[in-house]
Symmetry: C2
C-alpha cells in the first residue's frame, strides 16, 4: 500500500495545525520562520486557545474561516486521547500528516490500519508551561525528534516529515513504536508519575516552606498539564508499570541501606552520582 512517488508540492505551502498549544504552536512558529510553510491554518477545540494563537501570529487563519479545503501538511498536536481520530480525518485533506504525541503504540493501535501518509512523531522538547503563549520558535533547535513509521507508512511521507523537523533544527531518529514507548516510559513517564506521587505526599504534609533548589528541580515536571499527562500515563501504563515495580524494589532496598549505613549505601549513591555526571558530560 506504499508508494515511492512523492506527490508534487511547491512552496508556498500551507500547514493545517490541529491543536495550538506549546508543541503545536512552537512547530508552526518555527516552520514559518524557516520557510517550510508560508501559511498556517489552525483549529483548536478550546476557543480561547485558538483566539490567542491567531493574536500571537501562530496561525494566519482559523480553519473555519479559511478558504482551503486541502493542505500540504497537517500537524496533530492534541492530547494523546484525541490524536487517532484527528489523524484519520486529516489524512483525507492533507498530503502528509504527523502527530507529536509522547506515546506512539496506543495511537497506532487505535488507527488499526494507519493511513500511508501518516508519520508518527515525538519531539523530545517541552516545558512545564503550556498553551499558545508558551510557544517558542526555538523549541526544537538541537532537540531529538523520534519518528516511528508504521508498517503502512509510505517512505516518501517519512522523508517529507523528516525534512520539516530538520528544517526547524531537530535531529531525527527512527525507532519502532514499542522501542520508543519503552524508552520514554523510563526516561520521561516514570519520572512524571514519581513527581506526581511525591507532590501528593508533600500536599498531605502541608507545607513546602524552606524547600530549596533540589526540590524545585526534582518536582518541576509535576507542574505539567493534567490532561496531557493523564493521557500519556494511561496510554503507556504497561511499560511504565514494569519500570515502576523495579523502582519500588530499588526504593525499598535503598531505604534499608540508609538505615544500615556503610559501604553498600555509599556504593549505590556513588554509582548514581557517577552515572548522572556522565549524563551531563555527554550533553556538554
Amino acid at each position: 500500500m506504499t508508494t515511492d512517488s512523492k506527490p508534487h508540492k511547491a512552496p508556498p505551502a500551507t500547514l493545517l495545525l490541529v491543536g495550538t498549544g506549546l508543541i503545536g504552536g512552537s512547530f508552526a512558529l518555527a516552520a514559518k520562520a524557516h520557510g517550510v510553510f508560508s501559511r498556517v491554518v489552525g483549529t483548536d477545540r478550546r476557543t480561547e486557545a485558538l483566539d490567542a494563537a491567531l493574536e500571537l501570529g501562530i496561525i494566519d487563519d482559523r480553519a473555519s474561516d479559511a478558504d482551503e479545503s486541502r493542505f500540504d501538511a497537517a500537524c496533530i498536536a492534541v492530547p494523546l486521547g484525541g490524536i487517532a481520530s484527528c489523524v484519520r480525518e486529516a489524512s483525507g485533506i492533507a498530503t502528509v500528516v504527523f502527530d507529536v504525541g509522547s506515546v506512539k503504540g496506543s495511537v497506532i493501535d487505535a488507527l488499526e490500519t494507519p493511513p500511508e501518509n501518516y508519520v508518527p512523531c515525538h519531539p523530545i522538547a517541552g516545558s512545564e508551561r503550556h498553551g499558545p503563549a508558551a510557544a517558542d520558535a526555538g523549541l526544537f533547535s538541537k532537540r531529538t525528534v523520534v519518528m516511528t513509521p508504521t508498517a503502512t507508512t509510505a517512505p516518501w511521507a517519512v522523508e517529507e516529515v523528516r525534512r520539516f523537523w530538520e528544517a526547524v533544527g531537530a535531529d531525527v531518529e527512527t525507532q519502532t513504536a514499542d522501542q520508543h514507548d519503552q524508552r520514554f516510559a523510563l526516561l520521561s513517564h516514570l519520572p512524571h508519575l514519581v513527581a506526581v506521587a511525591f507532590m501528593d505526599v508533600v500536599g498531605r504534609a502541608g507545607s513546602f516552606a524552606g524547600a530549596g533548589s533540589g526540590f524545585r528541580d526534582f518536582t518541576r515536571i509535576a507542574a505539567g498539564d493534567a490532561e496531557v499527562w493523564h493521557d500519556i500515563l494511561h496510554s503507556n501504563a504497561g511499560h511504565v508499570r514494569r519500570y515502576l515495580d523495579e523502582l519500588i524494589d530499588d526504593l525499598r532496598t535503598l531505604g534499608d541501606a540508609a538505615e544500615k549505613g556503610g559501604p553498600s549505601l555509599h556504593r549505590r549513591i556513588e554509582g548514581a552520582s557517577r552515572l548522572r555526571r556522565a549524563f551531563d558530560a555527554a550533553r556538554d
Copy 2:
C-alpha cells in the same frame, strides 16, 4: 550552664574554617566580602582541597601554618559523620562554633551535652557541584538558614551566629532539631533517595540517550557528593523511611490509576500540578 554575657570581640576577627568545600568555602568568601571576618584560617583532611582553598583565596592560611591558637568563630563544614568530633574540638579554641550539616538531631545526640557555644545550623543552599572550586560568595543571598539551638546553647551564641548569616544575606529561622529533620527528610532527603534509586533503574536499562529536560532536572540532585549524601541519608534514615513508605503507597495506587485511566488519575495529576504551580507562585 548558659550565660547572657557576650564575650568581648572586636574586629579584626578570625574564622576557623573546618572543611573547605562548597558550603564552607562559600561561607568564608561571603563572610569576608561582608566584613564579618578579616582573616580565615582553614583545615581540611583532603590536602588537595586545602591547597585549592588557599590558592582560590578562600582561606588566608592553613591552620597548621597559622600563629593563632584561638579563633573568634569556627565554621564546621565537613560531612555529617565528622561534625560532632569537630564541634567538640573547636568549642575549646573558638568563641562560638556552628556547623552547616543537613541533619541536626544525629549530631546533637552524638555530642550528648552539646557545648554552650555551639549553634547547630543548616543553610538551605547548595548545588550538585562540590569542592572549593564550586564556592560562591553569593550562595546564601536570600536563602534560608535554619538554626536549631539545643537545650544547652547560650542565647548570646545564637545571636552571634545569626549575625554572621544575616551579614551574608540569609534569612534565619529557628526550629527544634526534630522539626527540622522531619521537614528536610521530606523536602530534600527523600527526593535525593528517589533520584538515586531512579538512576539505578536507568543504569540497568543501559542508556539515557534521548532524555530531555524533564529527566535532566528530575535527576540533577543525584549527581551530589556520595560521602555527603551517605551521611545525610543514614543520619536521617528514620524520618526518611516514614515518608518513603508513604511515597511507595502513593506510587502503587498511582500506577493502578494509570492503568485504569479516568477521573481519579486526572484528579491526582491536576492536584500535583496545582500544588507545584503554587510553589512557583510563592517563590516569585
